[in-house]
């Protein structure tokens, strides 16, 4: 419309039917009105989105994405007044830049899937809406497993509904062990956990080198898949946060001991050579399934999560594998693992918060979590679902849900969760490269993270 008016003006000008001054005035008026119309359109959010639509953002990729779409479709089929739309966006567990900039720019989603251990951080920053009002006095702390509900809160206020969870364990390749003359029976869950040192002993027997002395196969690659800093810290009985002192504790004796084991294990094998083998597939690097070390039978042991129960039959149907408890420091110690998972949040500025809440209850409720368990293999956070035996007919999945999850540890839900993760990663890298002793590397983590945490103290972890 503005375009034709402008062309009309130009025609009049060329035909001498209008003075230059008049042309300029009209053109300026046209420009100003076009700008104001467009800004008016932008200022009115209802123009861009119908009231009943709920926009749901996730950073998940396949196979999780398809399952989330199925959950959305099921919700839409059962609701005529609210319709959800799934949108895949850029980002990862701790990188929520697209969410933050969109919320700031007034074009954020109604529901966002956020890694639960980051909820406290984003809540502290003011990105998330307080859900107390929607809960209306209802207390979901009994509905969800305690650690998941704790992660969904910050300073006693609920900001998220827990979605899925997971747990980590030691996976082993039965064929490879037998070939090397190792009896896989000693890894049976019934026999209790093995010690880390016996894992090292078995693993070393399985190492193979090529003509140049490089590893072509390893028993245990020590920092691939889920062998993270938190994994070692928790496995050695470490604590990462002291609530009473409001201090991050990467220098805790257990955390240091776990990393010392990693340091020594790599040192005994030559850090350079281990890194040439494991570095390109380290836990920090995203590797296609086909190239993952356990799937391509280049390692016999790996620490990974329950989702592997779905991944392995798909990518390596011929591998006969077993799942064992996480190793322990000393004979007789309790085996310890950790759990993570995602959650649903309503960001600030959501256009349809009521619709968002309605959708979230489906997504993070029994219906959504049941679908996700069946399709992706991730564990639910709803207590009643975890107790439903018909969902866990698979023996190994039942082991994750009923043996590991109840005692699993979790990362402290802190407003510096992302920073803490990054600095632990940096220290863990220096340790597995044998560049720095665990004690000083982990002390540096505290020096970097504690100043950021200080301003939030005291912190009330539910």
């Amino acid at each position: 419309m503005a375009d034709s008016t402008y062309r009309d003006l130009v025609r009049k000008l060329r035909g001498g039917r209008i003075s230059r001054r008049h042309f300029m005035q009209s053109a300026a008026a046209l420009g100003v009105s076009a700008t104001s119309i467009s800004s008016a359109l932008r200022a009115n959010p209802s123009y861009a989105q119908e009231a009943s639509e709920v926009v749901f953002w996730t950073t998940h990729t396949e196979p999780e994405l398809s399952s989330l779409q199925n959950i959305v479709d099921a919700f839409n089929a059962g609701n005529s007044d609210v319709q959800a739309t799934l949108v895949q966006v850029l980002g990862d567990e701790t990188d929520t830049t697209q969410l933050m900039t969109a919320v700031r720019g007034g074009s954020g989603p109604d529901v966002y899937m956020l890694d639960r251990f980051i909820v406290a951080q984003r809540a502290a920053e003011g990105v998330l809406q307080d859900l107390s009002e929607f809960l209306g006095g209802e207390d979901p702390s009994e509905t969800y497993v305690p650690f998941a509900w704790a992660e969904a809160n910050f300073q006693g206020t609920p900001f998220a509904l827990p979605f899925d969870t997971d747990a980590r364990a030691l996976f082993y390749n039965i064929g490879m062990l037998q070939e090397a003359g190792i009896d896989p029976a000693q890894l049976d869950i019934a026999n209790g956990p093995i010690t880390w040192d016996s894992l090292a002993e078995m693993a070393t027997q399985l190492n193979e080198t090529d003509a140049d002395g490089n590893f072509s196969r390893m028993g245990f690659a020590a920092y691939t898949d889920q062998a993270w800093h938190y994994t070692y810290g928790f496995a050695f009985g470490g604590n990462f946060f002291d609530e009473a002192a409001c201090e991050v504790t990467p220098d805790d004796a257990g955390v240091v001991a776990g990393h010392q084991w990693l340091y020594d294990y790599v040192a005994a094998l030559d850090p350079q050579k281990v890194n040439a083998f494991a570095g390109p597939v380290a836990a920090t690097v995203t590797v296609p399934e086909e190239q993952q070390v356990f799937i391509s039978e280049r390692v016999a042991f790996t620490i990974t999560g329950n989702w592997y129960l779905k991944t392995l039959p798909q990518y390596a149907p011929d591998i006969e594998y077993g799942v064992a408890l996480m190793p322990v420091p000393n004979e007789g110690d309790e085996s310890a693992t950790w759990a993570g998972g995602w959650s649903a949040v309503i960001p600030q500025g959501a256009r349809n918060p009521e619709g968002a809440w309605q959708f979230m209850q489906h997504l993070a409720g029994e219906a959504g979590q049941r679908t996700y368990l069946e399709e992706v293999g991730n564990l639910p956070t709803i207590v009643s679902l975890l107790e439903e035996s018909s969902l866990f007919t698979d023996e190994r999945l039942r082991f994750f849900a009923q043996d590991l999850l109840p005692t699993a540890r979790n990362r402290p839900p802190l407003p510096v969760g992302a920073r803490y993760w990054d600095e632990l990663t940096s220290a863990w890298e220096r340790i597995y490269l044998n560049q720095e002793e665990p004690e000083s590397a982990l002390a540096a983590v505290k020096d970097r993270v504690q100043p950021d945490l200080q301003g939030f103290c005291p912190i009330d972890v539910v």
């Binding site: 300029m24 300026a28 420009g31 701790t94 990188d95 929520t96 830049t97 933050m100 900039t101 919320v103 700031r104 951080q121 984003r122 502290a124 920053e125 003011g126 990105v127 140049d212 490089n214 350079q272 890194n275 040439a276 083998f277 570095g279 390109p280 380290a282 920090t284 690097v285 190239q291 600030q348 407003p415 510096v416 992302a418 920073r419 990054d422 990663t425 940096s426 890298e429 220096r430 490269l433 560049q435 720095e436 540096a444 020096d447 970097r448 100043p451 950021d452 301003g455």
Partner: protein, 310 residues
């Protein structure tokens, strides 16, 4: 409209004394470029001034910024990662920018050969520059993988050791310097235009005097290209200090902080750690560093840049 530029008459305090028609032209001219002026003010000047203000506050990007004066700047000086990231970035720039000049010059000289099929070679040499850095990073992640990468297989085939480029802190920054050279095609085109601009008569005269290939390059090509070399150095400095995408895609700052580049750490502070004020202070420090380094290069360039019309 006049065909000759109106003479500029400086008045007191630098104010211009303009005739009526000049004033009218100025007004119209400003009106015509007003969309650009509005964009420039709204999307460049305002954010720059805004970050300066934010750099004196504690601010997550949401809620109200809290004024803390020079607090962020003081904290930065105490932050070991600030120094590590600055060191990484200067290390990278000091290698990537000069090497960029050499590679671009080499490409431009190859593109300038009097061969029939030279357009084809130009296309081939320019091709890597068309690939977005984001994509190039993924390609390199695969090419330079120590177990499967073609590049590493090649190195080992010629008897060199297998290097874990992005997994070994000793090599990571060098790998990024290497990767950056695949964007040299852009600058090579400017170099090529520069080479084309050198009068053939200079070479003819030199050849009559018996000058060889090296002598002609050393005494004609190189001095005539110095303004473009300066341009590329400044550009390389600015791009080098802002290195981000490659590290964001490939290493995320690792291993062991070897590729925590300045802007990557700035980005993490702003968007992942909720420290927008701190990140803004970092941006201003980077601006000052870039400005000072650029000025030093300009002053140094007076000794070696040759302008034909001077």
């Amino acid at each position: 409209m006049s065909t000759t530029a109106p003479p500029i008459r400086p008045g007191p305090f630098g104010r211009l004394h303009l005739t009526r028609s000049e004033r009218r032209n100025l007004r119209l001219g400003l009106l015509f470029i007003s969309p650009w002026i509005v964009g420039f003010l709204a999307f460049l000047v305002y954010p720059i001034v805004y970050t300066l203000r934010i750099s004196f506050t504690e601010y997550t990007g949401f809620g109200e910024p809290e004024w803390i004066g020079l607090g962020n700047y003081q904290a930065l000086l105490q932050d070991d990662l600030f120094w590590i990231s600055l060191y990484n970035t200067l290390y990278y720039t000091a290698l990537a920018a000069p090497l960029g000049v050499v590679v671009a010059m080499g490409l431009a000289l190859s593109m300038n050969q009097p061969l029939r099929e030279v357009p084809l070679y130009r296309a081939i040499l320019y091709l890597p520059s068309v690939i977005p850095l984001f994509t190039l990073s993924f390609i390199f992640l695969i090419l330079m993988n120590p177990t499967q990468g073609i590049f590493n297989q090649f190195l080992m085939a010629i008897g060199l050791p297998n290097i874990n480029w992005f997994g070994d802190p000793a090599w990571t920054k060098l790998a990024f310097v290497f990767l950056a050279q695949f964007g040299a095609g852009q600058v090579a085109l400017i170099f090529l235009a520069g080479l084309k601009g050198i009068p053939v008569t200079l070479y003819e005269a030199a050849m009559l005097d018996g000058a060889g290939v090296w002598s002609r390059f050393r005494n004609i090509t190189l001095p005539m290209m110095t303004p473009i070399i300066l341009y590329d150095l400044i550009l390389g400095l600015s791009l080098g200090l802002q290195v981000f995408t490659q590290a964001y895609v490939i290493t995320r700052g690792g291993p062991a902080d070897a590729s925590r580049f300045y802007v990557l750490y700035l980005y993490d502070n702003a968007f992942r750690y909720g420290k927008m004020g701190y990140a803004s202070a970092m941006a201003w420090i980077l601006f000052v560093i870039t400005f000072v380094l650029a000025m030093l290069i300009f002053r140094w360039s007076q000794r070696w840049v040759h302008y034909e019309n001077q």
